[in-house]
Amino acid sequence: MTEAVIELENVSLTLGEGASSVHVLKNIHLTVRQGEIAGIVGPSGSGKSTLLMVLAGLERVDDGRVSIAGVTLNDRSEDEIAAFRGRNIGIVFQSFHLIPNMTALENVAVPLELAGHPDPFKVAEQELAAVGLSERLTHYPGELSGGEQQRVAIARALAPSPPILIADEPTGNLDQATGRQITDLLFSKAAERGMTLVLVTHDPALAARCSRRIAIRSGRIEAEPMLTATA
């Protein structure tokens, strides 16, 4: 059995204050191992995205322990977690969130530059070639199609070679055909590099392709059916 790269122990999180507070995550126990492809599914407001934010170190938990890539995040400062995230976690968003005034190449180079990589643009160029965008290096996000923008986002997430990839509804803003291409790309890259991929999706077809399906409802993880990866 491969080693655990994500370990949540008895994690609880309440958002908001006073009367408007919501107990979003309730006593979550979750272990994801290296190379696993886990799909988090559940109805709107069940806590899927919040769970993803906890995994990315973007949301601090009230109770429990969060350990990612062997590092316990609970007692780290915001800036320490940011630096850790830059090296260990790649994130792909539903709305791509590329930086509009930077070219595709510069967008991909950002995490490498932030991590002090010696040759960020060379790596960025290779990553864009790997997602089939060698011809689009100097294009700005506004000049790219939705699918192309999401490819840039994937290249950006992959560039620092993080052990963990997180994706929040990665096909949510794309048409069906493009969505399928993006899923293929994401799954194949994760498999090629032995990365752990955790994604949130409403799409049953996408969820069905994951090696694990983690169903969440009202802030609790429901029993997991055993699945086989189809990627």
């Binding site: 995205s49 993803l52 973007l58 949301e59 995230r85 090296r87 968003f93 005034n101 930077m102 932030l114």
Partner: protein, 850 residues
């Protein structure tokens, strides 16, 4: 490269990439910074260019390398010998007198200047036609020559070749006086110049013992003589003739009063420029906030990719400062051009050749103010951006910041604001005014914040209104993200400054044009000889039977020492310094004047014969730090006289009656030759009565100089008017900043308004309802701001007028009305221009993005 240096380099790189989107949204930011920097840099550059002009032209402006000035007496033989041994000497004498037409039918006050052959030692006397000295001034066919400016020709209806009388001598006006090289150092003249020869003046019989005449001895030293030598000559002169009582001035300080006034005025304009910059700071804060609001997604993305909060802060700080640098550069270019543009215009007002050039110190000061204002106003929005949560990327919820920025940013902003205040105070000529200004600005900020809060609170607490438009308007005032704080702050500061300046200006004008003449006498008569006093009184009483004639003995003297310490060694506050500068009128009285009330000490007995005593003006005495029993040494007619302060008197200078800082006991000047000064107050006298009295006095007593107070006040009024124009122009710069910031704030609000308008239209609101609602909102905001500006500006003006200028203050209804109208026009006008576009928006595209 170290890690911080690498991070900074990276932040620069990211900042430059981010700025590829252009500077749209920063127009107001750029304009505000450029305007403020241009105002401060330009004003200081112009002031320095005049200062340099004065310094470079020291010799012609002074008329020599050194000038020795004596009051009411010529230099004695040993003094003259000393001067002649030092360098080439030119002697001139100046006094006020009356020039009369030969037939006695008309007369005019003139500033007589009598010169000798070597005049001018430096520079050129320009006349039209150009004549040599002999042809211009010498005696020919019973008349001496004279030159006068066009004004005197106009006033008396004369032309070149006509004759006038001065005292008992006849003068032929042989040329028009175009320029007099040493005019600036001669001081401010109330009347046109009449240039004559010393022989001519002597022949006029005007100069007798006690006449108010000033003798100047200007020296030309060998070419290349250094300033150190001049100082040595000055020291030698003081040592050799300790009781000469001469005022000595060197070419390096040719026009100290002009220099001090230019410095004072430039300080005032710098503070107004700083107000404009601070008002612009609100625009900077708004622009940075709006820009960062649009960048929240990018900021969150940076953070999700591993950027630290401080890195994000640095990236946007670099961008802000780069934009500020562009604004500062534009401002500096304008500031550099200003002395070149102003030198021509200034020539007409100040007869000093301004040395147009680039003044790095003035520009550096302006740039530093620009940088500090940008930082002070940008740090808080930048600090808030640092805390944009990356989690927002997941929720697609927008990127609302989490409350107030971290303490470190609040402390940094406060620290920079303090540095800004400290710089304004440290670079000011008069620290007291600068401290008041900085305090008032800070207070205005806090109070305006409070006013905005109060307006919003009132709007929240307002009862449910029947009118839909009014309900919408009131709702808009207090809803989250309302325009209220930025509009109140932006417009409030500019309007407050405008109200303050308008009220000060108004009070000053009223003081001069309205209240003064009611109490002021009609005439001042100077140089009445002791032997003529009775005949003069008889004549005036006959010409003006109902008038009140007041006569006092008059001498001129200079304060040399206070309590035995040379006044040059004393540290005197600026407000009291005028008493010690130059010559003061002195008088003596046996009895306490009826209109004088004592605030300390007691008056001397009627036949007092002990040590000389003096009654000192209470306010000036306090400013000089004097107490009853202290001693004052004055130099009168080349003799030092020390008197002990017996009492303090309350003096009301604004009455323009006969007032003296120092009134001595009669025995002080026993035997000293002196003339008399008289005033005539006749409230019932018409303009023609005044003309008749003036003509009668001049005919009978040609040596008596008559100043009609109304004419003098007209000149002062004109000066105040010119100053007022300059002040209003400066205030306009601050108001432009205000309007720019206001327009920016309203434009930023339009984004939210498009959303509201579209939703409301979808729900059935008509254009009319929406326009009424928006107009009412702008009107309420404008009204609230105007009320604050009137209150704050009223208090500030009252403080300046009553405490600094010590004049009675009055609130002006016109200013109140004009301010309110201006505020409403600005808010409703600019607001509705933007809103018109909002109403034109199609609903569908907006609704799709809701």
């Amino acid at each position: 490269m170290t890690r911080p240096a690498r991070q900074l380099a990276l932040a620069f790189r990211f900042a430059l990439r981010e700025m590829r989107g252009g500077l749209s949204g920063f127009a107001i930011f750029l304009a505000c910074i450029a305007l403020g920097v241009a105002a401060i840099g330009g004003v200081n550059s112009v002031a320095r260019s005049i200062g340099d002009g004065v310094a470079a032209q020291g010799q012609p402006l002074l008329g020599g390398d050194l000038r020795f000035r004596l009051n009411q007496r010529e230099a004695e033989a040993p003094e003259l010998a000393f001067l002649r041994a030092t360098g080439e000497v030119s002697h001139s004498a100046s006094m006020r007198s009356m020039a009369r037409l030969s037939d006695g039918s008309d007369q005019a006050l003139v500033e007589v200047k009598a010169v000798d052959d070597p005049y001018p030692l430096y520079g050129t006397l320009v006349t039209e036609p150009a004549l040599d000295r002999d042809a211009l001034l010498s005696e020919r066919a019973g008349s001496f020559g004279a030159a006068a400016p066009e004004l005197l020709f106009e006033r008396l209806g004369l032309k070149v070749g006509d004759r006038i009388m001065l005292g008992n001598a006849s003068f032929e006006l042989r040329a028009e006086l175009m320029s007099e090289p040493d005019a600036v150092s001669e001081g401010f003249g109330f009347a046109p110049r009449l240039l004559v020869s010393l022989e001519g003046l002597r022949a006029s019989g005007l100069v007798v013992a006690g006449s108010l005449v000033e003798h100047s001895y200007k020296l030309r030293l060998a070419p290349g003589t250094g300033d150190a030598r001049l100082e040595r000559v000055e020291a030698e002169a003081r040592a050799a003739f300790p009781e000469a009582g001469w005022s000595i001035r060197t070419r390096s300080n040719a026009a100290p009063a002009l220099s001090a006034n230019i410095e004072r005025f430039s300080q005032f304009l710098t503070l107004v420029g700083l107000t404009s910059l601070v008002v612009g700071g609100v625009g900077v804060a708004n622009a940075v906030r709006a820009y960062l609001d649009g960048k929240r997604g990018v900021i969150a993305s940076f953070k999700s990719l591993g950027a630290s909060g401080s890195f994000v802060f640095t990236v946007y700080l670099v961008q802000t400062m780069l934009i500020a640098a562009i604004g500062i550069a534009i401002g500096l270019v304008l500031a550099v051009l200003m002395p070149f543009a102003a030198s021509g215009a200034l020539q007409a007002i100040i007869p000093v050749p301004a040395e147009a050039g680039i003044y790095p110190a003035a520009l550096a000061l302006a740039a530093t103010f620009g940088i500090l204002v940008t930082l002070a106003f940008a740090v808080l929005p930048l600090g808030r951006a640092r805390d944009v949560p990356a989690t927002a990327l997941f929720r697609e919820l927008g990127f609302e910041g989490r409350g107030r920025p971290r303490l470190v940013y609040i402390a940094t902003a406060a620290g920079i604001a303090l540095a800004l205040g400290a710089l304004a105070i440290l670079t000011a000529h008069d620290r007291r005014i600068a401290v008041t200004f900085v305090g008032a600005t800070l207070l205005s900020f806090l109070v305006l914040r409070l006013v905005a809060f109060l307006v919003q609170w009132l709007a929240r607490k307002a009862p449910r209104l029947n009118s839909t438009a009014l309900r919408l308007a009131v709702g808009n005032i207090h809803r989250p993200g309302a325009l209220t704080p930025s509009v109140v702050l932006a417009l409030g500061l500019g309007l407050t400054l405008l109200v303050t300046l308008a009220l000060i200006d108004g009070n000053l004008r009223r003081q001069i044009s309205d209240s003064l003449p009611e109490k002021a006498p009609n005439f001042f008569f100077v140089d009445i000889q002791g032997a003529d006093v009775d005949a003069f009184s008889t004549l005036v009483t006959r010409e003006s039977p109902q008038g009140t004639l007041v006569k006092v003995p008059m001498l001129r003297g200079r304060v040399i020492a206070l309590n035995g310490t040379d006044v040059r060694d004393l540290d005197i506050p600026p407000e009291g310094a005028w008493v010690l500068r130059g010559d003061r009128g002195l008088t003596y009285e046996a009895e306490q004047p009826r209109n004088a009330s004592l605030s300390g000490g007691s008056w001397w007995p009627k036949d007092y014969a002990g040590e000389p005593l003096v009654s000192f003006s209470a306010q000036e005495g306090e400013e000089l730090g004097l107490a009853v029993g202290d001693t004052v040494t004055v130099n009168v007619l080349g003799r030092n006289v020390t008197a002990r302060i017996a009492n303090f008197r309350q003096v009301q200078w604004e009455t323009l009656g006969i007032n003296f800082v120092m009134v001595f006991s009669p025995n002080t000047f026993a035997g000293a030759p002196h003339s008399w000064l008289a005033t005539l107050s006749d409230g019932a006298a018409t303009v023609s009565d005044d003309a008749r009295i003036l003509n009668a006095v001049t005919r009978a007593f040609p040596a008596v100089t008559t100043v009609r107070v109304k004419d003098a006040l007209d000149i002062v009024n004109q000066l105040v008017g010119e100053l007022g124009t300059a002040i209003r122009a400066a205030a306009a710069v601050a108001l432009i900043s205000s309007v720019l910031v206001l327009a920016g704030a309203l434009a930023a609000g339009n984004r939210a308004r498009i959303h509201d308008a579209v939703v409301l239209k979808t729900l059935g609101a008509t254009r009319r309802t929406l326009i009424s609602a928006f107009a009412l909102e702008y009107m309420l905001l404008g009204l609230a701001t105007a009320v604050f500006a009137l209150a704050a500006g009223g208090v500030a003006a009252w403080y300046v007028v009553t405490r600094i200028m010590t004049l009675p203050s009055q609130f002006s209804a016109e200013v109140a009305l004009a301010t309110t109208v201006l505020a409403l026009v600005l808010t409703v006008g600019i607001g509705l221009i933007g809103t018109w576009r909002v109403l034109g928006h199609k609903a569908a595209p907006v609704l799709r993005n809701l």
